[in-house]
């Protein structure tokens, strides 16, 4: 770890404990520290911890602007969420804000819990009406992958989901079906649903597991765990039961051990025998990946590693299956790709889509396409290392 990274974790730890940070002006390069915080989307928290330290003027400006930006985005997105929620209620549409909108409430200063977007769950049958409401509020629809529709308006991104979890992890659990129960036992305020906090927390753990499997994710997810434990007054027996049901208990133990290591807190349970080398490896990777994960060679093999772990067949057979999948992507995947949207609702057009895709790749992306097809064979060592990494996480 660099000096700035060490200091960054120390400042987060001080924030978790709500204690003053003993930092001096010449302790570090504050520009580099700000860069670390920016990559983790936690500049506002660092401003709060450093607000009384006599920093160089440029650093003060950077941290202060980060704080003001976090505050503005938080208040603005809450305001717009309430406006949209009123319209959903007016149209009798049940909606359930989740992830950051709920997790931020456990923070000492909810506005400092940043969010890349606001996530709202709706029922599938309300999709068209919600689309109209979002557009009436000036949002443009950016991406439509069926399960989540993404809307943008001047600094604000809203994701409207009709399925809460739509990806597999490296085990045989059907997370999509499991989290459909989020609507049950939710508290209802007008048409706004507030999910059971224990189930929602377990959902966020599954979400963290998904990012860990794919492109990685930042320290904010772990701050969420700590503040949830400190402030949500949750039933941890229930949470343990849920985590075991969906095979994420071991993963949670590892996450909590990391929280204890980084922030000096006591979590409800943890890995009794954590591997120090693995914990250092994870720490370095999280700094490398940043808040939303990173597209890197290391992470690119994540998908293949996951599929090989999921499969009950041997490596060679699964690798062959992966290659066939890349050559003949199923209708389920193709219909979600914007430039193949012409197959949506017309699965009989799939052979034409495959031929078009092969032709396009041969002409425009020959090397990239070949590398992708050969990945399970050429990068076997990297994939197996990634599998081992997932194994250590308990995934």
């Amino acid at each position: 770890m660099t000096r700035e990274q060490e200091l960054y974790l120390l400042l987060l730890s001080d924030y978790v404990h709500q204690r003053k940070s003993e930092i001096r002006e010449n302790d570090t390069d504050f520009q580099r520290l700000a860069e670390v915080a920016r990559r983790q989307n936690t500049v506002g928290i660092l401003w709060y911890q450093l607000r009384d330290v006599p920093l160089p003027e440029t650093a003060v400006r950077e941290f202060k602007e980060g704080f003001l930006s976090d505050a503005y985005l938080s208040v603005n997105s809450s305001y717009v969420l309430n406006e949209i929620g009123r319209c959903f209620g007016g149209q009798k549409i049940p909606y359930l804000p989740f992830k950051g909108s709920l997790m931020k409430e456990n923070y000492p200063h909810p506005e400092l819990r940043t969010m890349g977007d606001r996530d709202i769950l709706i029922r599938h049958e309300d999709r068209t009406v919600t689309d109209a409401i979002m557009k009436e509020h000036g949002f443009s629809r950016l991406i439509d992958n069926h399960a989540v529709w993404t809307y943008y308006k001047k600094h604000l991104v809203f994701e409207i989901h009709d399925v809460m979890f739509y990806e597999d992890l490296s085990n045989d659990i059907d997370y999509r079906t499991y989290f459909e129960r989020i609507w049950d036992n939710a508290e209802i305020q007008d048409y706004r649903y507030i999910p059971e906090k224990e189930l929602h927390f377990v959902y966020t753990m599954a979400h963290t597991a998904k990012h860990t499997t794919n492109k990685g994710m930042g320290f904010r997810a772990f701050l969420d765990m700590v503040f949830f434990y400190k402030h949500a007054d949750a039933d941890w027996n229930k949470i343990t039961g849920y985590l075991k049901e969906i095979k994420l208990y071991e993963f949670a133990c590892n996450c909590f051990s990391l929280c204890e290591k980084w922030f000096g807190v006591k979590m409800p349970f943890h890995n009794e025998d954590p591997d120090p080398e693995f914990m250092n490896q994870v720490t370095e990777k999280i700094f490398r990946d940043g808040i939303f994960g990173l597209r890197s060679e290391e992470n690119d093999v994540g998908h293949s590693a996951k599929e090989i772990r999921r499969s009950s067949k041997g490596y060679t057979q699964t690798a062959l299956k992966l290659t066939l999948h890349k050559l003949f992507p199923p209708y389920r995947d193709m219909q979600l790709i914007p430039w193949y949207s012409w197959v949506d609702g017309k699965p009989w057009l799939m052979p034409a889509a495959w031929i078009y895709r092969w032709g396009y790749c041969i002409v425009n992306k020959r090397k990239e396409g070949t590398d992708l097809l050969l990945e399970p064979y050429q990068k076997r060592k990297e994939i197996e290392e990634r599998e081992e990494y997932l194994e250590k996480w308990g995934l």
């Binding site: 709060y48 607000r51 505050a71 208040v75 603005n76 717009v80 200063h109 400092l112 000036g138």
Partner: protein, 92 residues
């Protein structure tokens, strides 16, 4: 005088911020740091107090001269109009 819809005064981490939420950011600065006195006057306006009532409330709460309060409030209200935070009711 009327506060434009979408302007939110909030104390975050001990700092008073005036935030232009929703469509209001078309007309006002996104976020402005303000001091305690500003926040006090703002809350008075939010509660629908007239200029005279704000003067009376301020004199009752703080140990300052009426002359100073009057000139302070007039300047304050003028600046709020200039910054588009206040609008005349009929043009809302």
């Amino acid at each position: 005088m009327k506060i434009r819809d979408g302007i939110v005064l909030k104390n975050i981490c001990g700092t008073w911020l005036l935030i232009a939420a929703g469509e209001t950011s078309e007309h006002c600065k996104y976020v402005r740091e303000v001091n305690d006195t500003f926040a006090w006057y703002w809350k008075e306006i939010e509660q629908g107090r007239t200029k005279e009532e704000i003067v009376a409330d301020t004199l009752e709460r703080f140990d300052v001269s009426e002359e100073l309060v009057r000139s302070d409030i007039e300047e304050y209200i003028r600046s709020l109009y200039a910054m588009n935070y206040l609008i005349k009711e009929e043009t809302k």
